[in-house]
C-alpha cells in the first residue's frame, strides 16, 4: 500500500557533503509546517527549541516523531549496515556501509530538542564528521531545558503582575499574596541558574531517581533468574516458560531504563559545565526573570 506523505518532495543529501550549518538549515526548514509560533520560527537558530511557545517554535507533541522522520527523509548516510550490539543480541546498531537512507533508532533522538542538538546527534552517531567549531555554539540539552523553565517562570510572573495591577480591594490582596510567592520562586530559580554547581545538583536528583530505578530493575532481574534457577530442577515447563517471558520483559525494561539513565547522566554532567553560548542564554533569561521580579515587587 502506498502512502502519500503530504509534504514537498526533498532530495536527500549525503551528510558527509554538507556543512553543519547547511544541515541545520535543512533541518529547520523541514519542520516549518509543524511550527505553530511563526514569529519564533522565523528567527530560529541552532538553539531554538522545537517545543514551547515562549521562545520555541511551538511544535506540538503530536508532531514530535515527525521531526525525526523529517530529518531521516532529508539525508543520506554511510552508516547503514546493521550490526548486533552484542553477539547473539537481537538489538542492532548501524555501522559504516553503502550510502543509503538515514535511520535514527529508538531513543537516539532523546536529546535532539533544537536544530543544533539534532546536528550534534548526527555527529555523535557518526553520520557526519564532528565539527567542534560548530558545536561550541550549540547549547546543551540541559541548558535548553533549564533556560526554557526560566522563560516560563518569567512569563508567568509578568502575566500575573499585569493581572494584579488591574485588581482592587480584597481581590488585589489575594493576587498579591500569590505574586509574592511567584517572585520568590523566580528569585530562587535565578540563584540556581547563576551557579552551574547548583543547577547540576538539581539535575542530579533526576539522575539519582533514574539510577534507583535501574538498580531496582537489576534486583528484579536477579529475582527472576533465581526463580528460573529454582524451577529448572522441578521441570514445570509451563511455569518455566512464564518466567522466561518475565525475564525477557525485565530485560526490555532494563534496556529502556539504562537508555534513560544515560540521558539523565549526560544532562546532570552538562549542567555543571557552562560554556560561553550557555552563559549568554542564561544571562538573557536571568535578566528577564530579574526584571519580572522587580515589577512584581514594585506592585506588592
Amino acid at each position: 500500500m502506498a502512502f502519500m506523505r503530504k509534504q514537498a518532495v526533498v532530495e536527500a543529501a549525503d551528510l558527509e557533503t554538507l556543512t553543519p550549518e547547511e544541515t541545520e538549515k535543512r533541518i529547520t526548514a523541514g519542520v516549518k509546517k509543524y511550527a505553530t509560533h511563526e514569529a519564533n520560527y522565523a528567527q530560529a537558530d541552532a538553539n531554538t527549541p522545537y517545543l514551547g511557545h515562549i521562545v520555541g517554535m511551538g511544535i506540538e507533541s503530536s508532531n514530535l516523531a515527525d521531526i525525526t522522520m523529517s530529518i531521516e527523509r532529508q539525508f543520506l548516510t554511510k552508516m547503514t549496515t546493521k550490526a548486533p550490539v552484542a553477539p547473539g543480541s537481537a538489538d542492532f546498531k548501524l555501522t559504516a556501509g553503502e550510502l543509503g537512507k538515514l535511520r535514527i533508532l529508538d531513543g537516539q533522538d532523546a536529546l535532539a530538542a533544537t536544530p543544533g542538538l539534532s546536528v550534534k546527534m548526527l555527529m555523535d552517531l557518526g553520520h557526519m564528521p564532528r565539527n567542534e567549531a560548530y558545536l561550541q555554539n550549540v547549547m546543551s540539552f540541559a541548558y535548553v531545558m533549564a533556560v526554557g523553565d526560566g522563560w516560563k517562570m518569567a512569563d508567568a510572573l509578568r502575566k500575573m503582575t499585569a493581572k494584579a495591577e488591574k485588581l482592587a480591594g480584597p481581590e488585589r490582596a489575594e493576587a498579591l499574596a500569590n505574586l509574592r510567592t511567584l517572585a520568590a520562586q523566580a528569585k530562587d530559580y535565578d540563584l540556581v541558574l547563576a551557579d552551574p554547581a547548583k543547577l547540576a545538583a538539581a539535575k542530579q536528583k533526576t539522575f539519582a531517581n533514574d539510577k534507583a530505578a535501574c538498580d531496582a530493575l537489576n534486583n528484579e532481574l536477579s529475582v527472576a533468574l533465581d526463580k528460573i534457577k529454582g524451577l529448572s530442577a522441578g521441570g514445570d515447563a509451563a511455569a518455566l516458560a512464564k518466567l522466561r517471558t518475565e525475564e525477557a520483559e525485565i530485560r526490555t525494561r532494563l534496556k529502556m531504563s539504562a537508555a534513560k539513565l544515560r540521558v539523565s547522566q549526560e544532562v546532570a554532567e552538562a549542567a555543571g559545565r557552562r560554556r560561553p553560548v550557555e552563559d549568554a542564554k542564561v544571562d538573557s533569561v536571568r535578566k528577564a526573570m530579574q526584571e519580572a521580579v522587580v515589577q512584581a515587587l514594585k506592585l506588592s
Binding site: R5, A110, M153, T181
Partner: protein, 469 residues
C-alpha cells in the same frame, strides 16, 4: 475444609521452633536492614512504637496485621519497624505471614532455596498461592486461610496484605477493597486490625526492596475487626481499606513528593496535521511512523480494530500516553520527549504502564465525540472514578475562541474552573499559576497547591484537569 491433625501438629511444631529462635531472628532482621541495606527508621520511632503498643497492650485478643505492600521484603520491614526488641518474647504478638509461594519458595539453586525456606519457616510463614483457578490451587488457598483462622483463634497474630499483592501504582486504592481480611475477621470476631502504612521516602513503584540507604516513615493504628452487626466481608474490608487510606494520606502529608499525580490530554481529531501519515480513508497509516509511537502490543491491538476505528484508536493511544506522561512527570519520572514507547497503553483495561518502572496508571476517556478525544490519567493520590463513583479528578474541555492563544486560554480556563469548583476560592483572581520544573502549579493564598493541575491544547480545543483528593 478442616485442618487435619497432621496440619495442626505441623503448625504447632513450627510455632514452637519459631518461638525458640525469635530473638536471634529478630536481631538478624534488624542487623540486615541496618547494616546490609543501610535502612533507617524515623527519628520518632520510639514514640510511634509506644503509642501502638499501648493500644496492643489494651487488647488481649488476636491481631490481624494489615499493611500497604510495595516490596518483596515488606513483612520483614514492617516487623522491624513495629516490634521493639524488648517485646520479642511476647510470643502471641509475633505475626505469622502469608508469602506467595511462587515468589519465595523456589528461589535460586538448592542451597539458597533451602536457606530461604528454612528462614521463612522460622519466621512463621504459611505459603500462599495467589494464582490458579484449578481445584488444587483453590484447596491450597482454603487451607492457608484455615491455618490463619486457627492461629487467630489460638490468640496469635497473622500478617496479610489487604491488596493481595504489591501495588502496581505505588498507591493503596481504597475504592477497590479485597474481601480476604474481611472474611478472616468474620471468622474470628475477637481479632483487631493492626493497620500499618510503612514506606521508604524514595519508594516510587513496586520493587524487590526499597532503595539502599533510604529512610522509612510509618503511621499505624489498631482498629476493630468485625463490628457487631457486620456480616458482610466486603463491609469490613471497606472499613479497613478506608483506615489504611487515611494512614496513607497522613504519610504523604510528611512527604516532599507530590501526592497527587494526574494528567490529561486533548486531541482535536479534525486537525489537518493529524491525518498526515494516514491513508485517505484513515483506515491505515505509515508503518514506520506507527512504530515510532506504539509498542508491539499496542500495534497488534490497533491492527485488530475495524478499519473505520483505526484513526480514532491510534489517537486514543496517543492521547492516553500524553496524559500518562504528565502524571508520571508529576511523580518525578521524566519520560523523554518522543519516547512514546516508554509508556504502554491498554485501551481495553483502561491502563497505562510506564515500561521501565513498571508503574501502572488508570485512564479515563471523557468528552469524546467525533471532533475530539480527551483523556485523564491518575498515577496516585486519588481515584479516577468509574460508573459507580465520581472519583477525585475534575476536568473541563472547551473550544478555544478564534484569535486567542490556545496556551493562554488553557491557563485561564484552568483558573476559572478550579475557582468555580470550590466555594471557598470563589473567584479566579484569587489563584495564580506557577511553573515549577516545567509543571503548572496552582497558587492560592500564596501557597502552591498539590492539585496536580494539567493543561492541554490541540487544534480547536483546550482542556485542563486537576485532582481534589
Amino acid at each position: 475444609m478442616a485442618l487435619t491433625p497432621e496440619d495442626l501438629a505441623a503448625l504447632r511444631r513450627q510455632w514452637r521452633l519459631s518461638r525458640a529462635v525469635a530473638v536471634p531472628l529478630s536481631l538478624f532482621v534488624a542487623a540486615t536492614a541496618r547494616l546490609r541495606f543501610w535502612y533507617r527508621l524515623p527519628g520518632d520511632i520510639g514514640r510511634i512504637r509506644a503509642e501502638i503498643w499501648e493500644k496492643l497492650d489494651r487488647h488481649d485478643g488476636p491481631v490481624i496485621w494489615a499493611a500497604n505492600h510495595l516490596t518483596l521484603i515488606d513483612s520483614f520491614l514492617v516487623y522491624w519497624a513495629v516490634f521493639p526488641m524488648s517485646r520479642v518474647l511476647e510470643d502471641r504478638r509475633l505475626p505469622w505471614s502469608t508469602p506467595e509461594y511462587t515468589n519465595y519458595y523456589k528461589l535460586g539453586g538448592p542451597l539458597k532455596s533451602a536457606f530461604i525456606r528454612a528462614l521463612l519457616y522460622a519466621c512463621r510463614c504459611i505459603p500462599f498461592l495467589r494464582g490458579g483457578e484449578d481445584a488444587q490451587s483453590e484447596a491450597w488457598r482454603q487451607k492457608a486461610f484455615d491455618k490463619c483462622v486457627w492461629i487467630l483463634r489460638e490468640g496469635g497474630s497473622v500478617f496479610v496484605y489487604p491488596e493481595a499483592g504489591r501495588s502496581r501504582s505505588g498507591w493503596l486504592e481504597a475504592k477497590r477493597p479485597k474481601d480476604f481480611l474481611g472474611k478472616l475477621a468474620l471468622e474470628v470476631p475477637s481479632a483487631k486490625f493492626l493497620c500499618v502504612y510503612l514506606r521508604a521516602e524514595g519508594q516510587l513503584a513496586a520493587t524487590v526492596r526499597p532503595p539502599d540507604g533510604d529512610r522509612f516513615r510509618m503511621v499505624c493504628d489498631l482498629i476493630d475487626g468485625a463490628l457487631p452487626g457486620e456480616t458482610n466481608p466486603r463491609q469490613i474490608s471497606r472499613r479497613l481499606f478506608d483506615r489504611l487510606a487515611e494512614l496513607q494520606l497522613e504519610w504523604w502529608k510528611g512527604s516532599a513528593l507530590s501526592r497527587n499525580c494526574g494528567g490529561n490530554d486533548v486531541v482535536d481529531l479534525k486537525a489537518p496535521l493529524l491525518r498526515e501519515h494516514f491513508t485517505d480513508d484513515l483506515a491505515d497509516a505509515d508503518c514506520e511512523w506507527l512504530e515510532r509511537h506504539l509498542t508491539a502490543k499496542e500495534l497488534a491491538s490497533l491492527r485488530a480494530r475495524r478499519p473505520e476505528d483505526f484513526f480514532r484508536a491510534f489517537w486514543s493511544f496517543f492521547c492516553a500516553k500524553e496524559a500518562a506522561h504528565k502524571a508520571l512527570a508529576r511523580a518525578g519520572l521524566v519520560v523523554p520527549h518522543a519516547a512514546f514507547r516508554e509508556i504502554e497503553v491498554d485501551l481495553f483495561r483502561r491502563k497505562a504502564a510506564h515500561v521501565s518502572s513498571g508503574l501502572q496508571l488508570d485512564l479515563r476517556f471523557t468528552d469524546e465525540d467525533q471532533d475530539k478525544l480527551h483523556c485523564v490519567c491518575v498515577l496516585r493520590g486519588g481515584f479516577i472514578g468509574d460508573s459507580e463513583s465520581e472519583g477525585d479528578v475534575l476536568w473541563k474541555v472547551a473550544e478555544v475562541p478564534p484569535g486567542v492563544s490556545a496556551g493562554s486560554f488553557a491557563r485561564e480556563l484552568a483558573l476559572d474552573f478550579v475557582a468555580e469548583s470550590n466555594d471557598e476560592i470563589g473567584r479566579a483572581s484569587a489563584l495564580a499559576l506557577s511553573e515549577e520544573g516545567g509543571l503548572p502549579t496552582v497558587l492560592w493564598r500564596g501557597e502552591p497547591r498539590d492539585w496536580s493541575l494539567s493543561l492541554s491544547h490541540s487544534g480547536r480545543f483546550a482542556a485542563c484537569s486537576f485532582m481534589i483528593s
